[in-house]
């Protein structure tokens, strides 16, 4: 048997790198996708100043926000199973948005003053 030609060795190394890269991709990409939750609307409507709205259950959340007519005050925040409030943002900006995450919480939006007649939409993520 003669020794391997250099280009064979190079091809072998390339194949091995491709295999390792593919394995890493299979191992790492799904958890990465799982970490970025899927956005969904947990409440939507018109008017209703004074109303509280929330997700039905607890889960890891990436952010919490509400789209609404500018100039009307809204609040978004989380509660944990013990009822503790955290991650609160109150503003009349659009969207009113708390960009932070919670490991296990219920997302809330509170319509403080919006009877504008423009549709509002509360959004967060679910795993």
């Amino acid at each position: 048997m003669g020794e391997r030609k250099p280009w064979h060795g190079s091809m072998h190394r390339t194949s091995r790198r491709l295999f390792v890269t593919a394995c890493l991709a299979f191992a790492l990409v799904p958890p990465a996708i799982a970490l970025a939750g899927t956005q969904f609307n947990y409440a939507q409507g018109f008017n209703g100043a004074g109303g509280f709205y929330s997700t039905s259950g607890f889960a890891p959340r990436d952010y919490n926000q509400v789209w609404h007519a500018s100039g009307y005050y809204w609040q978004v925040f989380y509660t944990d199973p013990g009822g503790t409030l955290s991650g609160l943002e109150r503003s009349s900006n659009n969207p009113t948005r708390w960009p932070g995450s919670i490991s296990y919480g219920k997302a809330w939006c509170y319509n403080e003053s919006d009877n504008s007649g423009v549709q509002w939409t509360c959004q967060t993520t679910t795993p």
Binding site: Q39, N41, F52, S54, Q65, W67, H68, A69, S70, G71, Q75, F77, T79, G83, T84, L85, S86, G87, L88, E89, R90, S91, S92, N93, N94, P95, T96, R97, W98, P99, G100, W108, Y110, E112, V118, Q119, W120, T121
Partner: protein, 237 residues
């Protein structure tokens, strides 16, 4: 029977008819002029006793003096944060609530940060004339002229962790050009001044257990406005 014809109308009656037509024209002209002036007043942004009121076409980015100064330049915000904000805005559920795309050419640092505890408030106007805010590089939504309908400041309140514990509540936002001082009064009775610069303001309460009860705004004419804030949310009430 002799019928009077127009040509035969006596001079006194002709004069009276001309006067009536002239008078009616003058009244019509006066009414039209009044309507035009009233319409122009409605269209112009006016500073009422409380805040800014406007009608069609007025844009916040044209009202705030900071945007008439040279922009802070690209690189003020990390590209990742800009990308996140653009992605959020792109998913606005409807045209009615879409603040417009970020106009990064006119980005401005309102309050510069230094060290870990200092805030960094950055403003970016949009294609629709709104102004988007980034607090400590995180996108926090966009304000329009409507945000100043009732007051010369647009007040945002944030608590990054558990309410009443951990880090204190911060109060921040945009202020109209004639605001000279902003102070925060908390529910323990403490009053503290906010940093006010370039149409932006920021204050962090001294006590982590305190909640902002009111914002006091002083304007260039010396008038003082006290804006009461609601208490913390109570979803179980």
């Amino acid at each position: 029977m002799d019928m009077p014809n127009d040509n035969a109308m006596n001079p006194l009656r002709r004069l009276s008819l001309r006067s009536a037509i002239f008078g009616a024209s003058a009244v019509c002209g006066l009414l039209v002029a009044t309507a035009v002036v009233a319409s122009a007043r409605d269209d112009a942004p006016t500073r009422s006793g409380a805040g800014l009121s406007s009608a069609s076409g007025e844009r916040l980015r044209d009202v705030l003096a900071v945007f008439s100064r040279p922009a802070s330049g690209a690189g003020v915000l990390p590209s990742e944060q800009v990308g996140d904000a653009q992605a959020v805005i792109a998913q606005a559920p409807s045209h009615d609530v879409d603040p417009g795309s970020l106009d990064l050419e006119y980005i401005h640092v309102l309050i510069a940060g230094a060290g870990d505890k200092k805030p960094r408030l950055v403003a970016v106007p949009t294609s629709k004339g709104n102004v988007c805010l980034f607090l400590n590089e995180a996108f926090t939504g966009c304000a329009g002229v409507e945000n100043f309908r009732d007051a010369p400041v647009d007040i945002s309140v944030r608590d990054v962790d558990e309410l009443g514990a951990g880090s204190p509540v911060v109060v921040y936002g945009l202020a109209l050009n004639d605001v000279t001082r902003v102070s925060i009064v908390d529910d323990k009775g403490t009053t503290q001044p906010a940093v006010l610069a370039n149409n932006g303001f920021f204050a962090e309460l001294a006590d982590a257990r305190a909640w902002p009860a009111a914002v006091e705004v002083t304007r260039a004419d010396g008038s003082l406005l006290k804006l009461e804030l609601p208490g913390p949310p109570n979803p179980t009430s």
